[in-house]
């Protein structure tokens, strides 16, 4: 762990965003994770993405569970709201927060243990309800805090640092998210910010349940030969479906590309995703085809990354519930507790 605070002095030529902030204004405290942890790269990518999106820090809520990954919200967006919840229970807390105040931008930060083991049920329900959020799973395939046991996302046949071989099948959060109805599904790699930063931006802009699985090597316990979550393995097997550029709503989009190589997806908030297709036959707006393609590529041993599925017209939890547009937390007691007469009226409706 680093003992000193990161010096406040910064590069004199740092660009500022529309709010007058530099990317350093989006930092949090200095990381206490192991040196070289992939999670720190994800934090840096989040900082860069929020800077580029001109996000007002007070409009973001970061929620997490337990684990190395769930510590990271302390290391970025130091001026934002944060909630470090119980192990695997972040999705419930996030859902509740979202119900109470639909105006914030919700960022769920979790890991493979928190999401795929103890919190798998919570993950599933949060996604199928379409909670408007970006759910990031910092996936290293190992229980790092308890010194390197296989986690639920460790691939079958992969080797632990201690030498054991994993006999169990892996839970693939991306496939799961597709099945559960997530309207934005992507995978990336902590060692590739060129791909990761735009995916985070797109996910934050997405107005529905966005799931981003980020393979994030555990330098201490899962970066050895035989691991399928190591820097070397992922770099060797990374098969990107596309490269995306996020174009904000205020900017005019110029489309000059060869048909079949680039695809433009207009998002609900007016922004565009410009997708450079690296696999011609991959269509990220067709859920069934995407699932089939993914299964095939993964069976061939590839680590499929990129924007894997997006529904340009997503629906979210509030739409499903028909809630009012005013966030509940801004209503007074009178509106929220209309009294016995109103209750009687509601009850009468069920008779």
């Amino acid at each position: 762990m680093t003992y000193i605070a990161k010096p406040k002095l910064h590069h004199p030529g740092l660009p500022k965003n529309a709010l007058g902030f530099t990317h350093r204004d989006y930092e949090g405290r200095i990381s206490t994770l192991c040196a070289g942890c992939g999670h720190d790269s994800i934090s840096a990518a989040l900082i860069q993405a929020c800077f580029e999106l001109d996000l007002e820090p007070h409009r973001v809520a970061k929620l997490s569970g337990i684990g190395c990954s769930s510590k990271t919200p302390d290391y970025f967006l130091g001026q934002s709201h944060g909630f470090n919840s119980v192990h695997g229970r972040m999705p419930s807390v996030l859902t509740g927060a979202n119900l109470a105040n639909r105006d914030l931008i919700y960022l769920g930060v979790s890991g493979d243990g928190d999401s795929a083991s103890i919190g798998l049920g919570q993950f599933a329900h949060c996604v199928r309800r379409g909670v408007n959020m970006l759910y990031i799973c910092e996936n290293n395939g190992v229980y790092g805090l308890t010194k390197g046991q296989f986690s639920a996302t460790a691939d079958k046949g992969s080797k632990s640092k201690a030498g054991g071989t994993n006999a169990d099948s892996a839970i693939d959060l991306v496939s799961l998210a597709l099945v559960l109805g997530a309207t934005f599904v992507a995978r990336s790699f902590s060692g590739d910010k060129h791909q990761l930063v735009p995916l985070i931006k797109a996910g934050l802009a997405h107005q529905g349940a966005a799931v981003l699985d980020v393979i994030s090597p555990c330098v201490q316990f899962n970066n050895h030969a035989g691991s399928t979550k190591s820097f070397d393995y992922v770099r060797e097997h990374n098969e990107a479906m596309n490269r995306i550029d996020v174009i904000p709503a205020r900017e005019e989009i110029k489309v000059d590309f060869e048909p079949g190589t680039t695809e433009v997806v207009r998002q609900h908030d007016g922004s565009y995703l410009k997708l450079a297709k690296l696999h011609r036959d991959y269509d990220p707006t067709d859920r069934a085809a995407a699932m089939a393609h993914l299964q095939a590529r993964q069976a061939a041993g590839e680590v499929v990354t990129g924007l894997l599925y997006v529904d340009p017209e997503p629906e979210d939890l509030h739409t499903h519930l028909g809630t009012v547009t005013t966030p509940l937390n801004r209503m007074g007691e009178k509106e929220l507790c209309p009294g016995a007469a109103a209750l009687a009226e509601v009850n009468a409706g069920y008779r």
């Binding site: 680093t2 406040k8 910064h10 330098v219 070397d232 060797e236």
Partner: protein, 609 residues
């Protein structure tokens, strides 16, 4: 910064041609990163002595200085400090570290260091060297050669050692005790001194069969200002450096109430401030060109103005006015600066009426020049078309192989620190020549590079960057200092302030050293770097590379540190420009690919042979 932090590529990526890997085995590479040391003519290891000051090891800090620049106490008060504009701190916040005044802290706070000094040599080597002038250049040569057994004879026209440090720098800036102490350390090495005797012929010195002669007589002639009235009013018109010298030796103790100082260099600043202390009540500095163009150091201008001395600019002296043989004032033509068609800056009259400023005395400080009427032109010593001796800029040898030049005598007026640097180099040459070696084959500067790692995240230097702004040196109250020409104005940093100022140093000598074979390209260093100076990127030619780094590298005077190709086909590029040397890259590196290593270089000296 581009929105793309670094182009991520898979292991299949081909290597793109571009910059060659940086050769860090060349000592110049890391030396250049230590901006202050690189800028110092004597290459004093600045960060090392600043750390020692912070550690309270003043004597050790002093000795590093003494070895390198010979006059730490003098320079800590008077240096032109080329190190400070170079200081990296000035590029990441408003002001550089007060390097010069920290040097003074070491000098002021040290213990008795005399037992650390070299002793007079008992074994003589039989070689005899004459030094002409007892200023900083000659004294440096003496210090470097005496411990080696040379018989050194120092000549000076004045009765004391010190040269211009004694005659031209007022005592309110440099107390005599400090100068005496540091000249004394050299005289303690027992050179033969012939003070108070002026050399009038170089030939006569050559005839004495010295093995080598070093000319370090300075630039002793103040430039004249021949305008109407100069001769008529000559009793009240003084040449600045001569007048300062006369004040220094106590021959001049008063000046008129109204004084005009002509000229905008540091001598002019010393003249006006000295005048204020000798009875001048209405003292003005008048310069031909603009205030900004003045040659005086900014801090010397500030000090003069804070003593109630206005600086009037764009006034060209036209005539000294006088009545009955007595000076009455100076008539000035008003000018402005204009650029001609070729972009050259010229001063042209504004057409306004001339301005007359009344005064009782004028001090002319419009420059100094070298003068060698005492050097015969038939002794194999060539002079150039400006009537200056032809001197090699590396060896300081003239065309007469036995005669060397240094200090202001070599290339015209510069500063003490340059004279010291020349002295060291000339001493090396003399020593080489006297031992039958080629003076052009220079000895290498000894240097070391050593890891500072003490534990997982512990370094043998304080890597926590101080956010303090530059501290001001306290001054004595001007009611007192203006009354006494010998009372030092600056009080110097206290130990407490010295510590805080020392903590502002970024330790640029503790280098970020990258070992590409250990790197796993995890980006941890990129993410943690507070100044965005590290990038992993496909290689490119330098100009292109500079535009697509994490932060654009616009300062081309600062190098890019480029690694060899990594596993992914990319290279590591570090822009040295604003690196804080905080070591966070090395702390966050899981494999030790980054290490913090202290680069220590001392220039080769004759006495270190």
């Amino acid at each position: 910064m581009s929105s793309v932090i670094a182009e991520g590529l898979s292991a299949k990526t081909a290597r793109r041609p571009g910059m060659k890997p940086t050769d860090t085995t060349d000592p110049n590479y890391f030396h250049k990163v230590v901006d202050c040391q690189w800028a110092c003519p004597a290459h004093t290891p600045v960060p090392e002595y600043i750390r020692l000051i912070a550690a309270g090891r003043y004597s050790d800090a002093y000795m590093i200085n003494w070895k390198s620049n010979v006059f730490p106490g003098v320079l800590g008060r008077t240096c032109d400090r080329p190190c400070e504009p170079a200081c990296r701190r000035g590029r990441v916040e408003e002001q550089p570290v007060a390097i010069c005044r920290l040097k003074r802290v070491a000098a002021d706070s040290k213990d008795d260091i005399r037992d650390r000094l070299p002793k007079p040599s008992r074994e003589k080597n039989g070689k005899r060297v004459a030094l002409i002038g007892a200023g900083p250049a000659s004294l440096t040569v003496a210090r470097d050669l005496l411990p080696l057994g040379y018989h050194v004879t120092i000549y000076d026209q004045d009765p004391f050692a010190g040269g211009m440090m004694r005659t031209q720098i007022p005592k309110f800036r440099l107390p005599e005790t400090v100068l005496d102490e540091e000249c004394g350390y050299i005289l303690g090495l027992e050179p033969e001194t012939k003070f108070g005797s002026k050399i009038t012929s170089l030939k006569s010195v050559l005839d004495q069969d010295y093995d080598a002669i070093f000319v370090g007589c300075g630039a002793p002639r103040g430039r004249e200002l021949e305008i109407p009235g100069r001769q008529d009013a000559k009793d009240n018109i003084h040449i600045g450096i001569d007048w300062l010298s006369s004040v220094s030796f106590g021959h001049t103790t008063a000046i008129g109430k109204r004084v005009i100082v002509l000229g905008g260099g540091n001598t002019a600043m010393d003249c006006c401030r000295t005048s204020r202390r000798l009875g001048g009540e209405d003292v003005k500095v008048v310069v031909r060109s603009g205030f900004e163009e003045m040659k005086a150091s900014p801090w010397e201008k500030d000090d003069a103005m804070s003593e109630g001395i206005p600086i009037l600019n764009f006034l060209v002296p036209k005539e000294f006015t006088h009545k009955d043989g007595k000076l009455t004032g100076v008539l000035f033509e008003k000018v402005k600066a204009e650029r001609d068609a070729k972009g050259r800056r010229n001063l042209v009259p504004t057409g306004e009426p001339d301005q007359h400023i009344e005064c009782d005395d004028v001090l002319v400080a419009v420059g100094q020049e070298n003068a060698f009427p005492w050097i015969e032109r038939d002794i194999g010593l060539d002079f150039d078309k400006w009537d200056m001796p032809v001197v090699d800029s590396v060896t300081f040898q003239s065309t007469n192989p036995k005669v060397f030049f240094g200090g202001d005598a070599a290339f015209g007026p510069k500063n003490i620190i340059w004279a010291v640097a020349h002295g060291h180099a000339a001493a090396v040459s003399i020593d080489l020549m006297c031992n039958g070696h080629d003076v052009k084959v220079r000895p290498a500067d000894p240097n070391t590079l050593a890891s500072q790692k003490m534990g997982i995240h512990e370094w043998s230097y304080d890597n926590d960057v101080s956010l303090d702004l530059r501290f001001k040196v306290p001054h004595a109250p001007s009611e007192l200092t203006l009354r006494d020409v010998n009372m030092e104005v600056e009080l110097g940093f206290t130990k407490e302030l010295g510590f805080k100022e020392a903590q502002r140093c970024l330790n640029c000598d503790v280098e970020t050293v990258f070992e590409k074979n250990l790197c796993i390209e995890c980006d941890a260093c990129v993410d943690i770097c507070p100044v965005d100076c590290i990038t992993f990127t496909p290689n490119d030619p330098e100009d292109e590379l500079r535009t697509h780094l994490t932060a654009t590298a616009t300062n081309k005077t600062q190098d890019l540190y480029v690694s060899d190709y990594l596993k992914t086909g990319r290279v590591m590029v570090k822009d040295e420009d604003v690196c804080l040397h905080c070591g966070l890259c090395a702390e966050r590196c899981p494999t030790g690919a980054w290490d913090m290593q202290k680069f220590y270089l001392e220039t080769a000296q004759a006495c270190g042979r």
